[in-house]
Symmetry: C2
Amino acid sequence: MRALVAGGAGFVGSHLVERLVDAGHEVVVVDDFSTGRRENLAAVSHQVTIVDADISDAAAVDAIEGPFDQVYNLASPASPVDYHRLPIHTLMTGSMGVKNTLDLAHAHGARYLLASTSEVYGDPQVHPQPETYLGHVNPVGPRSVYDEAKRFGEAMTAAYRREFGVDTKIVRIFNTFGPRMRVEDGRAIPNFVHQALTGREITVAGDGHQTRSICYVDDLVGGLVAMMESTATGPVNLGNPEEISMIDLATWICDLAESGSQIVHVPRPVDDPQIRRPDITLAGELLGWAPSTTAEIGLKATIEDFRNRR
Amino acid sequence: MRALVAGGAGFVGSHLVERLVDAGHEVVVVDDFSTGRRENLAAVSHQVTIVDADISDAAAVDAIEGPFDQVYNLASPASPVDYHRLPIHTLMTGSMGVKNTLDLAHAHGARYLLASTSEVYGDPQVHPQPETYLGHVNPVGPRSVYDEAKRFGEAMTAAYRREFGVDTKIVRIFNTFGPRMRVEDGRAIPNFVHQALTGREITVAGDGHQTRSICYVDDLVGGLVAMMESTATGPVNLGNPEEISMIDLATWICDLAESGSQIVHVPRPVDDPQIRRPDITLAGELLGWAPSTTAEIGLKATIEDFRNRR
């Protein structure tokens, strides 16, 4: 089996690439390294082909040598810090990047999996969110460069299934954490871990009673592979419905890192999103999938990785 | 003043082109004639430059000779019959077509107006719809090739304003009718007028008590020009909030056309959308705009046009 993983040098992508290599598959990674990093692929660099290309460039994608049985499209800036820095690039990756990789899958008769996001639900007014919830996204707000690009990518993927019969799958990925998150990613877990390991104050927004649902990356990768190997077309939510408050998360990370850091409270940003929590009933029914890693195990592995990278 | 009108050979576009020519402006029309028609520009064909190009083709747009002071982007298949026939083209026009024409406006320092649509509200759960309503669109449904493309186009337009300071404007156009609608357009008014003029049965879906808000095209064009000449950035709704039931509309058209056609009832299609009705408070406040043509005058002009074209 030969797979292409777009965004394979990213946080989630690189874990998926390792899983596919471990299963004995041939893997071609395409990444433009705008947010991905070569060191994420260090463990498998001699076993995979790496193509340095931007998937929104049709000619570059067309030039990638097949054949392929599977195309995983995980390419996109995904943290707010990144997509606010790269707004047009994010819009292009989510639109033309999806079309170009769909064309590639179509040309090779490959299965196609689009990594969409819980951000298609925007600032949801229904909790938890089932796949049938149509979302609450502002098309012209600053976050729309990511949210609307992903919604558009889903529409393009669904159109390729209807028009050309491409065997497409769409998953909507909720908050995920684990080794290889970037310190400068801007999200809570890498922030807290970095602050704990460097002895800085751990900055919790507001009173910290707001909650997050966080899925360990190994669990998520299991869901991606299960979806690709299933007959399901999606959209299917993948995430961990268990909620942790920010203050508990900060305390836990502080303890697990054996850090002397103090926890301090800072003002909540005005656009701090409401909580999103996945309804993963469908993933259970269609894929037999549910996350199984405890937050403690996941956080320990993440702290260990951050410590090793310092 | 020199203006580019993308989609200028279409139903709404051609009325806008005439208005701009009448005001003494130089006009360049770009249209790929996938749904637009050359005969729509018959009255002004010697006064405008017509470029036969698909705006989703970056090189073709880049080759259009400037300078331009204003870019109106009205290019897209807009009726369900058309966008279901041209799904990928619709997605491309609404994404790359918007980006390419934004690049053109940016290069020439031109103002840019995006003709968005009430379809960004999807099947709304709030009536009437103000611009702050975030919509109810299924990203993977058949209509998403149009709805999500338009939402994406709004996101791209807003990003160009934020990133590059392009002087952008977004309007959301609700149901519009008038001369030059195509008989095969598939929507209620052209259907009814054609049936009335050919003496066929007038087919009303269901009991006909469902309502539509319909704006006469001359009124809409006034709103487009007012928006372009204002300091408003939008999104701003443009449409007529007055509601007419389908059965009244059919009866009225039958009478005005002096037709002997019988009105018959046919089953409502399963995806017959819920009513959309614009809240046009913002257009009144920002543009001093409101529709002023009565439905009777608009329908008479439309019937006359359809009669002349037979």
